[in-house]
Symmetry: C2
Subunit: 159 residues, 2 copies
């Protein structure tokens, strides 16, 4: 039982954006998040687009643009965003190969009940809970101390 | 969010074995189940071994051998068998690529709570619930009317 890579990336984007930035700091960008988590820029763009389309983040284009949360972390239910990122695919694939019981089988409806319980449990947490304590401290550290780019001798401030 | 193929196969084995057979009928075999669901014989052997090792089915070797449930379907909690088949891998992979927050992140513990809720919801059902009604009727039909083997002209009774 595993969440998709897409959800994993979406959760990291939201966590990253939940960390406070200095008042005069530029907005976080996909490039910055991609670098901090060493994940695909291309996939992060897709994830950020979905989160923006559904109103969880604001994405401003152009010079000075970037990403920010559209709500306070305490107003973002974790279950709602994981449900969005996961989509509504089935938990088992009855079609490949086609199961002999397909179309008249109780398994799917029982798994749907369990999936609802899974998301309801996540909805007892908000993004603020997810980024509380040591997690938030770690997020703050990676925000303001980006790692040196591999193969680059330039200090972080020069990039 | 998807269950593994291994779990899918294990559930099909248990469902198939829950269907009553005639008193003089031989035990179901992995070969028979593999044929009915058009799934890999090799993978089914692995699944049947795990189910037998953990006491959910009996597997008798040799002539006249085969598989049968070790308990009545109403005594087999669905959550317990899905939990066994799924194993205890994490819902997201913090290690590939290594996440900058790894080792001090609330996401894993929150997902573990939700996973427990998922299995607890499944434990409100037994294998008897899963195979009730139309599902059981479909199972009975595929038990006693195996499909013709592709490319074989021999009637089912001759195999």
């Amino acid at each position: 039982m595993q969440l998709t890579r897409f959800t994993d990336l979406g959760v990291r984007v939201l966590m990253y954006l939940s960390s406070p930035r200095a008042a005069d700091a530029p907005l976080a960008t996909v490039g910055e998040i991609s670098e901090q988590f060493a994940v695909s820029h291309h996939h992060l763009v897709k994830v950020a687009n979905i989160l923006a389309q559904h109103g969880w983040i604001h994405a401003a284009r152009g010079k000075g643009g970037g990403l920010r949360l559209a709500h306070a972390p305490s107003d973002i239910p974790f279950g709602a965003v994981v449900r969005l990122l996961e989509g509504d695919g089935d938990l088992i694939d009855c079609a490949d190969p086609p199961c002999a019981l397909r179309g008249g089988c109780n398994v799917k409806s029982v798994l749907d009940v369990a999936r609802d319980a899974f998301f309801a449990a996540l909805d007892r947490y908000t993004l603020a809970d997810i980024t509380a304590g040591g997690t938030g401290e770690k997020l703050a550290r990676i925000q303001f101390h980006p790692p040196a780019r591999a193969g680059s001798g330039a200090p972080a401030a020069a990039r």
